[in-house]
Amino acid sequence: MTRVKTIVGIDLGTTNSLVGVLQAGQPVLLPNALGERLTPSAVAVDDDGSLLVGAAAKARAATHPESAALAFKRDMGTDATLRLGDREMSPVDLSALVLRALVKDAEEALGHPIDEAVITVPAYFGDAQRQATRDAGAIAGLTVERIVNEPTAAALAYGLHHLERELTAVVIDLGGGTFDVTVLEIMEGVIEIRASAGDARLGGEDFTDAILTLLADRARESHGLDADAPKIRARLREAAERAKRQLSEVDRAELLLPSLAGRDVAFDLTRADVERAWAPLLARLRDPIRRALRDARLAPTDVDEVLMVGGASRTPCVVALAVELFGKRPHTELHPDEAVAQGAAIQAGLKAGDEAVDDLVVTDVAPFTMGISSGTKMGTRVVSGLFSPILERGTVIPASRVERFFTLEDGQTQLQVEVFQGEHSLCKDNQKLGEMLVTQLPHRRAGEAWVDVRFTYDLNGILEVEATVMDTGRVSHLVLERRPGKLSATQIERAREAMTRIKFHPRDSLPNRTALARADALYVETSGYERELLGQALGRLRAALETQDAALIDPAREALNALVAQLRSR
């Protein structure tokens, strides 16, 4: 029997991840083991040392913060590591774990194995971060040939249904950890990304952090608590998240934290308090929007549709900002949490050559300028450290551009090609991507020897640099210097193997583990009679698990979940 070739699309988000496929020309998101389409991007270590991924891990983070990892997407492409239990894990390892869990669940849902995926990244992710994402996929046992920008994916999800129209739209994607703005045009059935801007370190988590800071200050001042202690901080963070969600709907939220370091604590937050705390964050949202419009040479009034994507875009004051800037209400057709994953699924279909999307064409652009460091002569003096762009932001990709650079010195036989990414005119204000030394230039007078430097930027946003020495046709390829977090092929292979040996909780026991973790988290929060009830239900499930009898386990779990749901809704 021939295997069906399926490529899945994965939205690997800071807070939540999703996976989907294209079926009958429509993106379909696949449920995880718990029946949910959203899987928290969380990893935790259980008491027995096995790893939890997803909702269970997120629940555990509230009670055992030192053995859980959240929001590690923000550290992709860096050297940061986290200690979980007795393991030292990098953001790539953690992402790989999440990917692995997603794929396993997807395989269950589809009924056949998956070995290829398209993964989304923020448009503003640089080379190191994109490579890290691919590495994570490889460690998880996936072939990842295509990385697609999140706002482009959202544009796909939207555009799929509007190909016959002609319009200009702006996608505002405020996810858990990153902010992307993309301007796109649909004309003649082609989705053209016109401009892309953003902030790779601004997202819903920052909004939560702002509330957390507010709560922490109050906890210190009014209640004399040490808000820096990990357990207390974790509780406060969880409360901050709750507050964020509640204050999206109502103007005032009362947060109860019983048994917080031995006492019951309550916080009273108004929407106004919170919006004050968010003012600097909201200000940071404006600049990328303006820059994207300017790059696309559009005025806000030229925009026909505003699409808001990403969980944090549901926040009322963010929506208000969009309304203020564009003079119209955002389009509500797109599901803020699911749009990117839908787009990823569509892209997966495009890659697989699915006929249903044969007509769909999307063009993307480079989100930032790339170039090299250069010098110039003024009279006989030399000025250096200047940024010479080779590939400007907004260039439609894939693109290949070449510039010629001449020597400044007589007899110069080497040229240091230093690659930078950014918009500033001096290299020191930009971000360095790597460098290579081009040697064996022919001996010539200054200005008479040259090197052609070619930048090739592909659809995945991976940059290749090629330097050709004059007349000799000799070409040096740039192997981008080892960025922190970047892995070699052997390292990836080793990590992948290690992953297969990691002890995970058996999948079929995941619902039980999750139920226990969720109940446990609530147990910590409650007191009195409710707590007693909860304690009893927890005890019953734990006892049932000892018997390993599904007939006893399942009802006990259902009862516990029902109780938890009931208590939480109070």
Partner: protein, 597 residues
């Protein structure tokens, strides 16, 4: 890809406007999806970029506003006057970095929209001009006119293009054709060129003389000019022209005499030039005038005369004044300090540097200055005399430096230089060890390991005091003429006027690198004449070392020119011989290189 290919690929014609071209592109893209056919897609995209550039504007767009500001000039533009080594007070260094735009995004909506349209337009025109530059570098005048006319027909709105075409036609004396172009230009350009045309149609005696003397040898030009000026002593045009001729002929005294009789308007300008090129000939009267109009130049003259104390006092005053001048260009002060050093007041110059550093730091201007890397490196070669006046605790100061990249720029060039001048490198090390052990060990590390980019001891630090780092750099650069990074993006310059000595009316608008020595004047290709050009600049700047390096190739060039035998080559040979003579006069040391360690 050229225009014809592009249009054919997209199936559009010259009559299709920008919108139609875009639609054609989008339709074509569907046949070459980037996912499926990346190479095909890139070709389609390239075709679109080319066709779009030459497409007519869609009918609903109105004519561009000539008042819109163009985008800032690229950083490679040479500052006017900097090549002479003199620094005009108040002048910015001539490069405005292409700043990132988000910080500008705070403006109100409607004005921003206009500015954006204009910016996009200017960018488009720039692209067209750059393309033409490249294409027409070696082309003859007729080809140039033909191509420019074609470009002009496609888009008459670009003022720079219109100006260029106009001047080409004017140079060929096709004034009627030039006039015919005017109605199609935008109002601003039209007005300005109409005035030009009037002048061309009714040339002043000076202009007429200029055209006549275009190909004349230098002596004849000077003689004729003197005669003409004697007949019409009030002509500023003639006076200024003769002044420059005399300066170039090294007749400073005669040039100075011209300054004395000049009109009130012209005198300050000429005096300043004289102060820069031949300070010994500046009269007292001019000097008084310079104190008012160009105090830095005045200080230089004082120093040249040996009135060191006065010069230093004036310099101190100027430095102290810096924080009060909002548009102060601290580089001018630095330039003056360098001049003082060259004029023998090296010790005082050292003290002035410290004073300048303090003043800037106190005024919070140090950051500004640090950003002008051009300033920093501009005067490196001349700081050599200051090296011997580095204070005893240089090491302490160096350790204090935050560096902000200053040391990054030192270490790599050091490595390169060291590999070329091994013996000198060891000599340098010996010198450094006695004055600045930290710097010495840094140099040593770098010589051992060229990949070393930073010295552990220099991490952290207090305030950027890069003056001394540059003194070190100056020594190195003087000994080995180190460049930085070693890369420069370079475009062939636009073809300039036929000879360097013709009246400005016939010159094309100067864009990059106002070179005074052009291939056509030299009679050979641009590359071959480049050494002579660099020599000329170095001599004008008073840079003995720089000039000395260029001397051998220039001598070879001279031999070539003499062998050529054509009149153009002969004239060029004269010019080169003069340059070499001035070099000898200016820098009488018999051996190349700087002072021995």
């Amino acid at each position: 890809m050229n225009l014809a290919e592009a249009r054919s690929l997209l199936a559009v014609t010259a009559r299709d406007d920008a919108k139609a071209v875009r639609r054609a592109y989008l339709r074509k893209v569907k046949q070459h999806k980037p996912e499926r056919d990346p190479d095909g897609f890139q070709r389609v995209r390239e075709a679109y970029e080319v066709a779009r550039l030459h497409a007519r504007l869609p009918p609903e767009d109105t004519a561009p506003e000539p008042t819109a500001d163009p985008t800032p000039a690229p950083t490679e533009t040479a500052a006017e006057g900097s090549c002479d080594g003199s620094v005009r007070e108040g002048d910015a260094p001539g490069d405005e970095p292409r700043e990132d735009t988000p910080s500008d995004a705070e403006q109100a909506g409607p004005e921003e929209e206009d500015a954006e349209d204009a910016e996009a337009r200017w960018r488009r025109w720039d692209a067209v001009l750059d393309a033409l530059d490249q294409e027409l570098v070696e082309a003859d005048a007729d080809t140039r006119v033909a191509r420019l006319s074609e470009a002009f027909d496609a888009d008459p709105a670009s003022p720079e293009l219109a100006d260029w075409l106009f001047r080409e036609l004017a140079a060929l004396d096709r004034l009627d054709e030039a006039e015919a172009l005017l109605p199609r230009m935008d109002p601003g350009t039209r007005r300005h060129l109409r005035e030009e045309l009037a002048r061309l149609r009714n040339p002043t005696p000076a202009m007429r003389l200029g055209r006549e003397l275009q190909d004349a040898p230098k002596d004849e030009r000077v003689a004729r000019l003197e005669a003409a000026l004697a007949e019409d002593p009030r002509s500023d045009e003639l006076r200024e022209w003769l002044f420059h001729e005399l300066l170039d002929a090294d007749r400073g005294a005669d040039a100075a005499r011209l300054v004395e009789d000049a009109s009130a308007e012209l005198r300050p300008r000429l005096a300043q030039r004289l102060a820069a090129r031949a300070p010994g000939h500046v009269s007292n009267r001019s000097l008084e005038g310079l104190r008012e109009t160009a105090p830095y130049a005045a200080a230089k003259v004082l120093a040249h005369r040996g009135a060191t104390a006065e010069a230093v006092a004036l310099a101190q005053e100027l430095i102290d004044r810096l924080p009060d001048e909002p548009h102060a260009y601290p580089g001018a002060a630095l330039g003056l300090i360098v001049e003082l050093a060259w004029e023998g007041a090296a010790e005082e110059a050292g003290a002035l540097i410290v004073r300048l550093d303090d003043t800037l730091k106190r005024a919070g201007l140090a950051r500004n200055l640090g950003q002008h890397d051009a300033v920093r490196l501009l005067f490196l070669g001349e700081l050599l005399p200051l090296w011997s006046h580095i204070p005893e605790d240089a090491d302490g100061i160096l350790l204090r430096m935050a560096a902000e990249g200053a040391f990054d720029e030192l270490t790599r060039p050091l490595a390169r230089w060291a590999s070329l001048h091994r013996a000198d490198a060891n000599a340098l090390l010996a010198l450094l060890r006695s004055r600045a052990p930290t710097l010495a060990s840094m140099v040593q590390d770098t010589l051992r390991d060229p990949a070393a980019m930073s010295h552990p001891k220099l991490a952290g630090g207090v305030a950027p005091g890069w003056w001394l780092a540059f003194a070190a750099f100056a020594l190195l650069s003087a000994l080995g003429r180190i460049g930085c990074d070693g890369l420069t993006p370079s475009r062939p310059p636009r073809p300039a006027a036929p000879t360097p000595f013709v009246q400005p009316a016939y010159e094309r608008p100067a864009t990059s690198r106002g070179a005074s020595w052009t291939a056509s004047a030299c009679g050979l290709s641009a590359r071959e004449c480049a050494a002579a050009e660099r020599l000329e600049e170095a001599v004008a700047a008073g840079d003995c070392l720089g000039a000395r390096v260029e001397a051998p190739p220039t001598q070879r060039l001279l031999a070539r020119l003499e062998a050529e035998g054509t009149p153009v080559a002969a004239r060029a040979a004269d010019h080169v011989r003069d340059m070499l003579a001035s070099l000898e006069a200016m820098c009488p040391t018999s051996e190349p290189g700087g002072p021995s360690p």
